[in-house]
């Protein structure tokens, strides 16, 4: 090895602590980028891929009963790649001995072996049930306490019960998709149907299209053709739904996550480059004397430049060696976390080329770019300056140094202290040292503040966004103001139900609601969207919508409805007053949209129409399937208890209760995904905070390293260990506090930006932002802790140095 490379080699390995600091500061950035780019890749790729692997149906039709002949005719159709039929019905189920009934959507498969659409992924136990055995979708475990091998008690419509063993758990990624109020599913064979008093007929048709499964209009075309064909066989289609092969139902949420990831990724590149450039310029400052010697013994600028260029590259490569594997693992873990929360599976751990190359580029380019200025400056430095030791601009008293003038900033600092002193306000001098030290290396301070402030601003913003979302969720509660929801298998007269229910303690108000489904069509008559219309009485106080346009329901509304804002996805530019084509009970009608409200539309569209009109077209005047009940108290445990009590109470009186649950239970499912987002944001905030803290530690370390001489002086004139440490820590804390102030200011636009990204992705319009002191308080505590901790190590080192060492440092 040539001696010059040996020098660089030794620079690398001799001062391990310093090398580690530099490598680590690069690695933190590369790692973060790796995690972010990797998760981006994993999620965007695997989510749709794993979803597509389960062969989601492009067209799903809910029909009246049909048999194999209809199925095979559909299978043979042009444009249909595959078709599968199932029977879906719901049953109340409980673990034997329990009082709690849960409703399951029972799905009977034509054949589990030939299952080729909406595939079930085995989770535990058997993947194929035998006769009189049942598989459970794993989400059912939220409501049911049962293991593989355990049994469940099923209630037949006539009130008798059957017991079947649970032989396995599966994951059905298509389950619940498109149905906001869907129940968890249980899977059985066709042969089991008679046992449960059900005919061996199908009522659902699932179709995958031949050709482009990601083209909605094509799918719609095929769907319409299939529907026509079925209706020609006298199978009435009640509802239809179309879906793209690669579009996960939660894609919107994920897009929000990915959008944030991208923004953070870019930010972290900036943060880590400021960290890296800080560390590198300090490193080169320490090397100035070497540069001077090298130049003095004949080294040319180009040679010096190349040597330090190589050094920086070596730092980059070392950082990559650490950060790339860990970044890969981190990305996989993060994706795994999100995949688990959003119910999809990853395709497995693997090397992702794009993140890999991005990491290499960041690991080499960022140090290069941020180190370029110091390296060029270092290679240009005159031999004199390099050797004179007048390296740090805060170095020696200017006995001979070239033209030193007092900067205005120093002047102001001195002036300010003096003005205070004149007023009798004396700042203790050790603290004056901390304060003025803070501002000595202004570019370094700026970079440190930038990193720490960004971390802080994001951290605070995340808390604000979290509260904003929770606030929003709270307002979504306005759609679920009833304490107990009671659904029956058949419609009962409202007065009767009301009379019965009012006898129960604590029930204060009963309201009967109706439902109807509709299919919204485009101008060509193709079904674009399914909509569930809830029909509360127009004067109901149990729905307090967040209207974004138009008005709420009126009792005399005819073919008028309010719809959720999510519909604007399918009908861009939709406004109150617009008319839409809707197929209701097989009839095409024109409805007017009188109002648009905000809602979480992740699992299908909802709308509201007045009970008065809907009950008329349902021909069930004064009757209702569904009841909303208000009780005395509104807390969740009371609601749960009341729901259970009412269930039993009504059942005992011969009413066919389908489901009884707390009013806000459906809210839980509605907002669950928002919590995932918040958790995810928090992880990101912590990541940026760590990068910021790293930056601060590095800065304090460099500061102490450069000020060893001064620390020696203070020791020589009587500063003990604790005084030295206090001075250093105070400086760190001052930096921390300044960054806090800046972060407070910066967090405001950040909060708006983040909630914008999130809300636009999930809803269509920004939601109103709410601020919370919590984020500020936690960040203040955190930044104080971080800056103290970040200064403690350098401060301890400073205190440990003997004066002799300190003075010998020069």
């Amino acid at each position: 090895m040539k001696p010059r490379w040996r020098k660089i080699f030794h620079d690398l390995i001799d001062n391990k602590a310093r090398t580690l600091l530099v490598v680590f500061s690069i690695a933190v950035g590369v790692f973060s980028i790796g995690v972010i780019a990797g998760s981006y890749q994993y999620i965007s790729n695997d989510m749709s891929a794993s979803y597509a692997m389960n062969r989601p149906a492009n067209v799903e039709l809910r029909t009246i009963n049909f048999d194999d002949s209809v199925l095979s005719s559909i299978r043979n159709r042009r444009n249909v790649a595959d078709a599968e039929a199932r029977r879906v019905f719901n049953m109340r189920v409980r673990t034997p001995g329990s009082d709690r009934w849960t409703t399951l959507d029972m799905v009977a498969f034509e054949s589990f072996e030939d299952n080729s659409i909406n595939l079930l992924a085995p989770v535990a136990g058997k993947a194929i049930p035998a006769k009189r055995e049942v598989l459970l979708e794993k989400s059912a475990l939220r409501d049911l306490v049962v293991d593989v091998g355990g049994s469940l008690e099923f209630e037949l419509p006539d009130g008798s019960t059957k017991i079947m063993p649970v032989v396995g758990f599966v994951q059905d990624t298509a389950a619940g998709a498109g149905d906001f109020l869907a129940s968890p599913s249980g899977y059985i064979t066709l042969d089991t149907l008679p046992y449960l008093a059900q005919p061996k007929l199908y009522n659902r048709m699932f179709v995958t299209v031949a050709g482009d499964g990601d083209d909605p209009s094509y799918i719609r075309e095929v769907g319409a053709a299939v529907k026509d064909s079925m209706e020609k066989s006298d199978v009435i289609v009640l509802r239809s739904r179309i879906a793209e092969t690669h579009r996960h139902p939660l894609a919107d949420i994920v897009n929000a996550v990915l959008g944030i990831l991208l923004a953070l990724g870019i930010l972290i590149v900036f943060l880590s480059s400021s960290l890296i450039s800080n560390t590198l310029s300090a490193l080169l400052n320490q090397h100035l004397r070497h540069i001077g010697v090298i130049k003095l013994i004949g080294g040319q600028r180009r040679q010096v430049f190349l040597m330090y260029f190589a050094l920086i590259m070596a730092f980059g490569v070392l950082a990559l060696l650490i950060a790339v594997p860990f970044g890969g693992i981190g990305a996989y873990q993060l994706s795994l976390f999100i995949a688990d929360k959003l119910d999809f599976t990853l395709l497995g751990y693997r090397l992702l080329p794009l993140p890999f190359f991005i990491q290499i580029a960041v690991g080499l380019l960022v140090p290069l770019v941020s180190g370029l200025a110091p390296v060029v400056a270092g290679s240009r430095v005159t031999v004199l300056r390099a050797l004179s030791g007048d390296i740090a601009d805060d170095g020696k008293p200017a006995s001979r140094a070239d033209g030193k003038r007092l900067s205005w900033f120093d002047w102001i600092q001195v002036k300010a202290t003096r003005v205070l002193a004149v007023r009798g306000l004396h700042v203790p001098r050790p603290f004056v040292i901390s304060l003025r030290n803070t501002f000595r290396r202004k570019s370094r301070l700026a970079l440190t503040l930038f990193t720490l402030t960004m971390g802080g601003a994001i951290f605070i913003a995340v808390f604000n966004v979290r509260v904003t979302l929770h606030d929003y969720i709270g307002r979504i509660e306005n759609y679920f103001r009833a304490d107990v929801t009671l659904d029956f298998d058949q419609a009962y007269r409202i007065q009767e139900i009301e009379r019965v229910l009012k006898k129960v303690d604590g029930v204060t108000q009963v309201e009967g609601w109706q439902f109807m489904g509709g299919e919204l069509m485009d101008t060509n008559g193709n079904v674009v969207e399914n909509i569930a219309l809830l029909a509360p009485p127009s004067n109901s106080e149990l729905v307090q919508p967040i209207l974004v346009d138009g008005r709420w329901l009126r009792s005399d509304d005819v073919r008028k409805m309010t719809v959720s804002e999510g519909l604007r996805k399918s009908f861009p530019g939709l406004r109150a007053g617009d008319f839409v084509n809707m197929r209701v009970n097989g009839r095409d009608e024109i409805w007017q949209i009188v109002g648009i409200f905000k809602f979480v539309d992740q699992e299908g569209m909802i709308g509201y129409a007045p009970f008065e009109y809907v009950s008329k077209i349902n021909r069930q005047a004064n009757r209702a399937f569904s009841y909303r009940i208000v009780t005395e108290r509104h807390d969740r445990p009371y609601q749960d208890a009341k729901a259970e009590e009412l269930d039993k109470y009504m059942r005992d009186r011969g009413f066919k209760v389908r489901i009884a649950q707390a009013g806000s239970a459906s809210l839980d499912t509605a907002v669950e995904s928002l919590d995932i987002l918040v958790t995810f944001l928090l992880i990101m905030a912590i990541l940026t905070a760590i990068v910021g803290a790293m930056g601060l530690t590095g800065t304090m370390g460099m500061n102490v390293l450069e000020r060893t001489r001064e620390i020696g002086i203070t020791r020589a004139i009587g500063a003990d260990d604790s005084a030295v440490m206090r001075t250093v820590i105070a400086e760190g804390v001052v930096i921390g506090l300044i960054s806090f102030g800046l972060a407070v200011i910066l967090s405001i636009p950040f909060t708006y930006l983040l909630s914008m990204i999130v809300s636009v992705a999930i809803f269509q319009t920004p939601i109103s932002v709410v601020f919370t002191y919590l984020g500020y308080a936690i960040w203040l505590a955190l930044v104080l802790t971080l800056s103290t901790v970040a200064s403690i190590v350098p401060a301890r080192n400073a205190a440990r140095m003997t004066i002799r060492e300190v003075l010998a440092y020069e």
Partner: protein, 291 residues
């Protein structure tokens, strides 16, 4: 110029003999009368002014100085007299305020007309610099410290340069430590290595800034003797600045520098003692020694 030298007495015999012959004969060594008379560096009315916040400071007040081949020039002065500034002018390390420093870079040129890299190149070929604080790179072994110099100038192949480095270490009598790190040898030994490094590219001129300043008296003597040998046996030209007046008689030519002005040597007031009269070097405390 040779005359000036011969008018001085030489405490070491051999060179003295040479000098007596100097003007009309040839020394047994490699030097000829001609090279002896050759002017290597010339300072013409060199001024250096530092401006500080507390006012301008004149470090050199119009120095005229010629350095000729083969001489061992000593510049003696107290700290703060401008010794180091003078050296910085000669080595082209610092810019002068006024005047000219003429060096021989193929042709006679003013050093401050050259670009920084050109100066570096010239310095690499023509000058070896020796410091009070040695300035060896701590992470390289002794032999590497020397080969680095050759590596940067590219005059010798890697294999040849190691061989040459070992020869130089032998010359300064420290060959047995060749593969040690600088921290493992004493100050005097480090200074020997620094001298060997200064010789690496076989420059005609060595410039030494208080080379014995941080050494004890015995070691300092050895280093000084080494310099004398280099002048005699290798034909090097050496410019050395020092505060140590006791060395004044041992140079082939001695100048004194007081408050930025260079003059003939015996201008100091009577010394009370050989040791005490001596001003300490600027960086005298061992605790200030740069690692």
């Amino acid at each position: 110029m040779g005359k000036v030298q011969c008018s001085k007495k030489f405490p070491w015999g051999d060179f003295g003999l040479f000098c007596k012959l100097g003007n009309f004969s040839v020394y047994v060594g490699m030097m000829t009368v001609q090279t002896l008379n050759q002017r290597l560096i010339e300072l013409r009315d060199v001024k250096k002014i530092y401006s500080t916040a507390a006012g301008d400071f004149v470090a050199l007040k119009g120095v005229n100085l010629q350095i000729s081949a083969g001489e061992f020039l000593g510049v003696v002065g107290k700290s703060g007299a401008g010794k180091s500034t003078l050296l910085n002018m000669i080595t082209g390390v610092d810019r002068l305020t006024r005047g000219e420093v003429i060096v021989n870079n193929g042709e006679a040129v003013s050093i401050h007309d050259m670009a920084e890299d050109e100066i570096s190149g010239w310095r690499g070929r023509n000058l070896g610099v020796i410091f009070q604080s040695f300035q060896l790179l701590p992470m390289l072994t002794l032999v590497e410290n020397i080969t680095l110099s050759m590596d940067l100038c590219g005059n010798f192949s890697p294999r040849r340069s190691r061989q040459r480095a070992l020869e130089l270490l032998r010359l300064v009598e420290i060959e047995e430590h060749a593969d040690k790190l600088p921290a493992l040898i004493s100050g005097g030994q480090q200074q020997r290595v620094a001298i060997a490094r200064a010789l690496a590219n076989d420059p005609p001129i060595l410039v030494a800034d208080e080379p014995t300043g941080s050494l004890d008296s015995v070691t300092a003597d050895h280093i000084f003797e080494l310099f004398q040998r280099l002048v005699m046996e290798q034909g090097k030209t050496i410019v050395m600045v020092t505060h140590d007046q006791s060395l004044a008689t041992r140079f082939s030519r001695t100048l004194s520098i007081i408050d930025g002005e260079v003059g003939e040597f015996p201008s100091q007031t009577d010394a009370k003692s050989e040791d005490e009269a001596v001003a300490p070097p600027k960086w005298r405390f061992p605790w200030r020694r740069w690692k």
